[in-house]
């Protein structure tokens, strides 16, 4: 990371230096943006050097300088969108917390809901098939039970007793009322 910082520092100084002259003129007229105003934008950007770290909490020197750059740009009167676009132009789409909705990036947004809906559809179809198949009256005792196979209750009841247990509870409660 340090090596990257060394590479990026001159780049930053170059950019900062170029932007400096108009900034001085403008900042004389506008109050310096507060840390909170800077962080509000920095929070939405990701450190271009250390991945998966938002710019507002990144402790590296480079990020400190980028926050100062945001402050300068805010003082210049640049909008949030301008500042974000500036970072995207210089460091690529990776500085955004989500891929921009263009080209192949659409896949990131489309695949999960499509996969989920496909799963839901398959499940629904399976339900329909099962319902068609289950024409015989339900006894509740689909599976044989034994103390070893059904340890949910101490006496080793199967689902018949399991449901009966609940029914008995209900019955007792009704009687009390």
């Amino acid at each position: 990371m340090k090596v990257k910082n060394i590479i990026l520092l001159p780049l930053f100084l170059l950019l900062f230096g170029v932007a400096f002259i108009p900034v001085v003129a403008v900042s004389a007229q506008q109050p310096t943006p507060s840390d909170d105003e800077v962080n509000a934008i920095a929070r939405q950007l990701y450190c271009p050097v250390c991945e998966n770290t938002p710019l507002d909490v990144c402790p590296t020197t480079a990020c400190h300088q980028w926050r100062e750059l945001i402050r300068q740009m805010l003082a210049e009167g640049k909008s949030e969108a301008d500042i974000k676009q500036y970072f995207v132009d210089y460091y690529g789409a990776r500085v955004l917390s989500e891929p921009p909705r263009t080209g192949i990036n659409w896949l990131v947004y489309v695949v999960p809901p499509v996969a989920f809906l496909a799963g839901a559809y398959l499940l629904f179809r399976a339900f329909q098939t099962w319902k068609r198949l289950s024409k015989e009256p339900f006894t509740g005792a689909d599976r044989s039970s034994s103390p070893g196979t059904e340890p949910e209750t101490a006496k080793g009841s199967g689902i018949v007793e399991d449901d009966a247990y609940v029914a008995r509870l209900e019955e007792e409660l009704k009687k009390r009322k």
Binding site: C63, L96, I104, V108, G140, D142
Partner: protein, 675 residues
């Protein structure tokens, strides 16, 4: 000499694991009990052997053998003894050794059980566990050898090698670099073993599942045999995740606990399939349904366990967790591919044998709701998996890397988590088999009414965030349903058995541990959800540079900067500590001491927040160490985290619920003994 011994032990164990695979396969196909028994005993021997290797490594760490590259990289003279011992898993090579050690321990434990009735499964359980063990040992021997030592080559370079490079001179540094400061935290000391315990324990049900597939057993015996292993795996994985969250909250200094970082997600993914599996196996036990699905879930869980270790250890995705990067990626990738394809092929081969014994009768039955729960867990898994691998795909296709950050996961997973909570409330009220909309509705309306009142009251009190209102209504719903279920059972026992409330509660939970333990776990989950909703939706933050005597406001708190001190600590770090007075209105509440520690040996700083923690909120103050700090003025970042403590309280409740659910049943033991 000791290093060579340790390396030799690992190499020998690797060969032994390979032998176990061969012996078990020969034993199965030749129907030779002697070969199978040889494989079993070989498996048992791996544990003492790896233990010997681990003890050797621990001794070298504690005694400061800095000539070994691993010892040099994770310990230093000033580190206390406990940190030198836990440095065993503080680096890449050590954590892979830990994996192997736990694997051999669990595999040995499972081979010690009585196998009479399930003798046919034994060889394949040995094969799966031995292959997994051999794979991790091969990584240790070939790529990440903790016993490699420093050599100076003829060209003057320092290289770590097990054996002398040509013209190499052995080098023995007087001190080491020391453990990464970020890892010197109780949460991070326990977090990796917990996570690995969870990861490794999931190998056991997977091994039994594969054994059942190979031998063609279509019953649910493999599930019953590994029920407790599954629960233990789930417990440790859950605790590993929570400890990781706590570590992040305490140490990383960004006021949160979960950043949807790829490595966090890699540990979360097997938890998702594991949780789905835990619910889904109940349907197979009760109704003989979803056999194929359960097989697929455990295969996925195993693949994700290896994938999780791969992401954490290979450095393929750079993130805050990627402390270690190495060249083991391709090995992992091949192993995941081969085991996954083989397992799925085996499942397809047995697909028809694993048909359901009964069919689904109602969309409102408990099994239908469990299936819906599974669908939702799979939905979260798809979001997580896709979010993690998409940046790689993007980089491969376009050459440009993108970030898939928290907004994506929050937006996609939020509704799914909400639906999961709704199911958590509805499912306990449904019955197995036939359950109609009417019967379910009858059971639902009572707990629904107080749950609906909660958001109304919150709205009147000034909460107008609709996500929060829905979230808290769902939390209330689950709590009311669960308490209602407890009350129903206790009330009935009080009437039937004439027991007092506490005795009735004890007896009820004692006789239905799995059910009521499960309910307690549900309660713990929604208590955690209270904390998550609080911090995610209502966290506020502010940052300001303060001169001594100046104040900063957040929520209804005022913090005054009193002083700043810098001093060296006994372990070599330089501590910069600020003192702030906290007020609520005019009432003085106490002092907070945010600090940052600088470790000159490694050149790394560490931010430690000052935290005032109550049930209502946390006041979390960070000394922003990378800005300009002096004794006269310093920048502070303050977070107000409402309700976050409920996250940690919920995790403690979770352990209690687990103990209730997993405590051995007397009848079950007796039955197992008979078998």
């Amino acid at each position: 000499m000791l290093a060579q011994f340790g390396f030799g032990v690992f190499a020998l164990t690797f060969m032994l694991a390979i032998f176990c695979v061969g012996a078990a396969v020969v034993g199965y196909f030749d129907k030779s009990d002697r070969w199978v028994e040889a494989a079993r005993r070989g498996m048992l021997l791996t544990f003492p052997l790896i233990t010997l290797g681990v003890l050797t490594l621990a001794y070298l760490l504690v005694t400061g053998h800095y000539e070994l590259q691993y010892v040099y990289s994770v310990t230093s003279n000033e580190m206390p003894l406990y940190l030198k011992i836990t440095a065993l898993w503080g680096g890449q090579a050590g954590s892979l050794v830990l994996w192997s050690w736990l694997m051999s321990a669990f595999a040995s434990a499972i081979t010690l059980r009585k196998w009479e009735r399930d003798r046919d499964l034994l060889p394949w359980v040995v094969v799966v566990t031995s292959i997994t063990l051999a794979f991790f040992l091969s990584l240790t021997i070939l790529y990440e050898n903790p016993f490699a030592r420093w050599w100076q080559t003829a060209g003057g370079d320092f290289v770590p090698r097990m054996f002398a490079p040509s013209g190499g001179i052995p080098v023995s540094p007087a001190d080491g670099q020391g453990l990464n400061p970020l890892l010197r935290h109780p949460g991070m000391i326990i977090h990796p073993p917990m996570l690995y315990l969870g990861f490794v324990a999931f190998v056991i049900p997977f091994a039994f599942a594969i054994a059942a597939l190979v031998t063609g057993r279509s019953d649910d015996r493999w599930i019953r045999l590994t029920r407790r292993w599954t629960l233990i795996a789930w417990l440790f994985l859950s605790l590993g995740l929570v400890l990781g969250m706590r570590w992040a909250y305490d140490v990383l200094g960004w006021g949160g606990y979960w950043a949807w970082d790829p490595v966090e997600i890699s540990a979360f993914m097997p938890w998702l399939t594991g949780t789905a599996f835990l619910h889904s196996v109940m349907i197979q036990e009760k109704r003989g349904m979803f056999k194929q699905w359960n097989m697929l879930l455990i295969i996925l869980t195993y693949a994700l366990v290896i994938f999780g270790t791969f992401l954490t250890r290979s450095g393929v995705l750079s993130s805050v967790h990627a402390f270690a990067q190495s060249a083991i990626g391709p090995m992992f990738f091949a192993f995941i591919g081969i085991t996954f394809v083989t397992s799925v092929a085996l499942l397809i081969y047995r697909w028809k044998d694993l048909h359901a014994e009964v069919e689904m009768h109602s969309l409102f039955s408990r099994e239908a709701l469990f299936l819906l729960n599974n669908l939702l867990f799979m939905g979260v898994l798809i979001v997580c998996f896709w979010g993690v691998i998409f940046p790689l795909i993007s980089e491969l296709v376009t050459g440009q890397k993108v970030t898939v950050g928290p907004p994506f996961y929050q937006r996609a997973n939020g509704p799914l988590f909400g639906a999961l909570m709704a199911i958590m409330g509805i499912a306990p009220l449904s019955a197995w088999g036939r359950s109609t909309f009417k019967t379910l509705g009858r059971a639902l309306w009572k707990p629904s009414i107080p749950s609906a009142i909660v958001p109304v009251v919150l709205a009147i009190l000034g909460v107008h965030n609709w996500i929060a209102l829905i979230g808290f209504a769902l939390v209330a719903f689950v709590i009311f349903v669960t308490l209602f279920e407890f009350w129903r059972g206790v009330h009935s026992r009080q009437n039937n058995q004439n027991e007092n409330f506490l005795v009735a509660l004890w007896q009820l939970a004692g006789r239905n541990r799995r059910r009521y333990g499960g309910y307690l776990i549900h309660l713990s989950m929604v208590v955690m959800a209270i904390g998550i909703l609080g911090i995610e939706l209502f966290q506020t933050t502010t940052q300001k540079t303060l001169a001594v005597g100046e104040e900063i406001q957040i929520a209804d708190y005022t913090l005054r900067f009193d002083s700043l001190a810098q001093f060296p600590y006994t372990d070599g770090r330089i501590v910069t500590r600020a003192a702030l007075s906290v007020f609520q209105g005019v009432q003085y509440l106490g002092n907070l001491y945010p600090r940052y520690d600088y470790y000159p040996a490694s050149g790394q700083p560490m931010t430690i927040a000052g935290v005032r923690s109550t049930l209502a909120d946390d006041l979390y103050v960070v000394l922003v160490n990378w800005e300009n700090v002096s004794s006269a003025q310093a920048p502070f970042k303050v977070y107000h985290n409402p309700l976050v403590n409920w996250l940690w309280i919920g995790s403690l409740m979770f352990i209690f619920g687990f103990l209730v659910a997993a405590w051995p049943e007397r009848d079950e033991e007796r039955w197992e003994d008979k078998k």
